[in-house]
């Protein structure tokens, strides 16, 4: 019996040793790590597999799993020697995970996907290669003006390359547009919705005609996101956070929409809210270019031909976006850079991003080629959404400067959107006062007004 127990303990110790060994991710992968990599292989098809090559593996953490796999797959057709390991991390945990990895000293990925509203926060961590220096030598002036300074930190370093310029418009369901507004033509619709107040009048009409069933928008959070990014008032000026100035327009509009039942009560981003993309009760959705894959196609797979894109009354805006940066502790910076460089900085890569992801990389000169954009899109009922996004929308986008506190304020914005929808008696002034208090509580090292 005693021996038996000892045996068990010994076995445990051995297994424990194995686990510990497995974590030391060196060149000699422990058995378990190997198995992991294989799981990865079978999952990503050619993406990670297909080569013995240099044996270097570039690790990317992303919340945008499917798209990143596609990028890796096409990248490997050109660079079969470089393996790409894509790790899926929940968006809501992503920044936290990076910080924990930094603080706990555990291994960072080679490539980090930096959410645009957190760029300054990523910069503060001091873990990224400066892409404007040797050996990368990226001159950010080749990018679109409204986006070129986003990933540039105060000290002039460039910590990431934007994956997509994220022009944003409003998507609508064609059948419902015809039913309620008599047309599904984007230009005609843009005339009907020429001024922000038109959303109120038309939204009321939709409510009346449908007997209270149908709404113009599905979630206050989605509307708030659109209005926030369309409003180019900078959040930070000279060391002061102008919360009230930044949020007043958005909150006013939100309250008015709530009072007139222009927007339904779903909570943005939840599975329930996403399921409305395929129903017949919600007409319009603020739509950045990436939302086409993420939201519309993912949630309304059978809706091909029934979608259209129109100019918002606020003009075009740039919403969201992700930059890819290389960590300075990476042991395969060259390979990581080859991935970023090919995907985002070469014409071939740009075409791949366009065709497979509906993403448009930020380099201006690609767009000079008239062949680069344009063409009918079947899913959007034959509309030329590329030209629409990259001519009409891009030209109307103003530059939005993102500060270190945008993510904090965005969290408060979402909180207010929920509060406003919950309490019909909350006025815009109430909401703003509440938001200001929150902001003051969370932002301690700067003046907040």
């Amino acid at each position: 019996m005693k021996k038996k127990v000892l045996g068990v303990l010994l076995a445990c110790a051995m297994v424990a040793g194995m686990i510990t060994g497995c974590g030391e991710k060196g060149d000699t992968a422990a058995p378990q790590a190997d198995a992991q990599a294989k799981t990865q292989d079978s999952q990503s098809g050619e993406a990670a597999g297909g080569s013995e090559g240099s044996g270097k593996t570039v690790t990317i953490w992303t919340w945008d799993y499917d798209n990143t796999l596609m990028m890796a797959e096409d990248f490997n057709k050109v660079y079969p020697d470089i393996q790409i390991e894509v790790v899926n991390v929940a968006y809501s945990d992503y920044f936290t995970k990076i910080q924990q990895a930094v603080a706990s000293g555990s291994e960072l990925p080679d490539i980090v996907a930096q959410s645009c509203t957190l760029l300054k926060n990523y910069g503060e961590l001091g873990i990224f290669e400066d892409l404007s220096k040797e050996p990368y030598n990226v001159d950010s002036n080749i990018f679109f003006d409204f986006i070129k300074d986003r990933a540039v930190m105060e000290d002039g370093s460039l910590i990431g390359i934007e994956e997509s310029i994220s022009p944003s418009a409003i998507a609508y369901k064609r059948d419902l547009a015809k039913q309620y507004f008599g047309t599904d033509d984007p230009d005609e619709l843009a005339k009907i919705f020429a001024d922000p107040s038109d959303y109120i009048t038309q939204g009321k009409k939709v409510q009346e005609e449908s007997g209270g069933e149908a709404y113009l928008f599905h979630a206050a959070g989605a509307v708030a996101e659109w209005l926030y990014f369309a409003d180019t008032t900078p959040l930070e000026t000279n060391g002061t956070i102008d919360f009230t100035g930044k949020m007043t327009g958005t909150i006013n509009m939100l309250c008015e929409m709530r009072d007139n039942k222009v927007v339904d009560t779903y909570e943005n981003g939840t599975a329930q809210a996403n399921a409305t993309y395929s129903d017949d009760k919600h007409i319009m959705y603020p739509c950045p270019n990436w939302a086409i894959n993420y939201y519309i196609k993912a949630n309304d797979a059978d809706g091909s031909g029934n979608w259209g894109l129109m100019m918002p009354a606020t003009g075009g805006y740039s919403c969201g976006g992700t930059s890819l940066g290389i960590t300075n502790t990476s042991d395969c910076k060259d390979e990581a850079w080859q991935f970023i460089n090919w995907c985002l900085m070469t014409k071939d890569g740009a075409e791949m991003m366009r065709d497979r992801l509906n993403f448009f990389v930020p380099t201006k000169e690609f767009f000079d080629d008239p062949e680069f954009i344009g063409g009918e899109d079947e899913f959007f009922g034959g509309q030329d959404i590329e030209s629409f996004f990259y001519k009409d929308i891009v030209n109307s986008i103003g530059t939005l400067t993102v500060s270190q506190y945008d993510q904090t304020v965005i969290d408060i914005r979402d909180l207010l959107a929920i509060a406003v929808m919950d309490d019909p008696n909350m006025t815009a002034a109430d909401a703003l006062a509440k938001g200001l208090e929150e902001a003051k509580n969370r932002i301690t090292d700067m003046e907040v007004k």
């Binding site: 809501s92 009560t265 981003g269 329930q272 399921a275 993510q407 509060a419 919950d422």
Partner: protein, 307 residues
Amino acid sequence: MNKIKKTGGNRKYTVFWPIVFVAPFVICFFLFNLFPILYSFQLSFYDWSGVGEKTFVGLANYVRIVTEDKMFLKSLGNTLFMMVISFPFAIIFGLVISAFLSNLKHGRRFFQTVNFLPYITTPVAIGLIFTFLFDRNTGMVNRLLELLNVNGLNWLGNPRLAQVVIAIMIAWKYTGYYMALYLAGITSISEDIYEAARVDGAGALTIFRKITMPLLKPITIFIIVTSMIGGLQLFDEPNLMFNVSTTSVIGGPDRSCLTLLWNFYDVAFGSTAKLGYGSAVAVCIFIVIVLISLIGMKLMNRKEDVI
């Protein structure tokens, strides 16, 4: 107490073997429980984001918690409130049902096991299912209410109702567990005592109040102590219910479901991460928990004689 003989003076039994048996626990305790807390305590006097230099700031972090940071007190209030409206319900409900059912002969084990299921269900699953049940537009609860011609409620968007949902979740999770415990306790009470009481002409209610409840006191204490521990550690379920999408708000609607630990987690690792400040929050939580535990044990009037 047990009746071990003093093996007088035999150092084998007063020094050597005790050390052998107690050492693994004590060593692991110092390494993986106490040391991290002490280290956090030290960190709480610094301003540190996890990278770069630590700056010594003295008591500044604590001053901020007490004077400026409304979130700590709010999270404490939220946690206590959710505990107070959920656990007593689960305990009383568990006790009453178990008393009701104690004289069933058949299927007791089966019912005990079935009612234990909520306790073993993964919090991730509970979070998902409860968001599904209580969603304002598509949730089953609101649909049922609509069938009864009652307007659906904004369960997950209203600060108070969100707390109620969490409380319902806790009550659901623990009622069956407590019932199983009480049932086990009642079973172990000798039938003779009841018999004697009945001979003396005591009614069912009197028997329950005068015999069952006092005899179940140890179980009740056990339950209260463990539920306090569980309640103060509340994190998984609220976090998993209100941190699901790209646009989720920290702490749920109006941060009403921000618990002590969630607040700590957010301060230490969230978007404005500060490990030093987070550690100070952790130390404050530690103090609160120790205080509440002491008060709880005092109230139970058995601080020392638990063992």
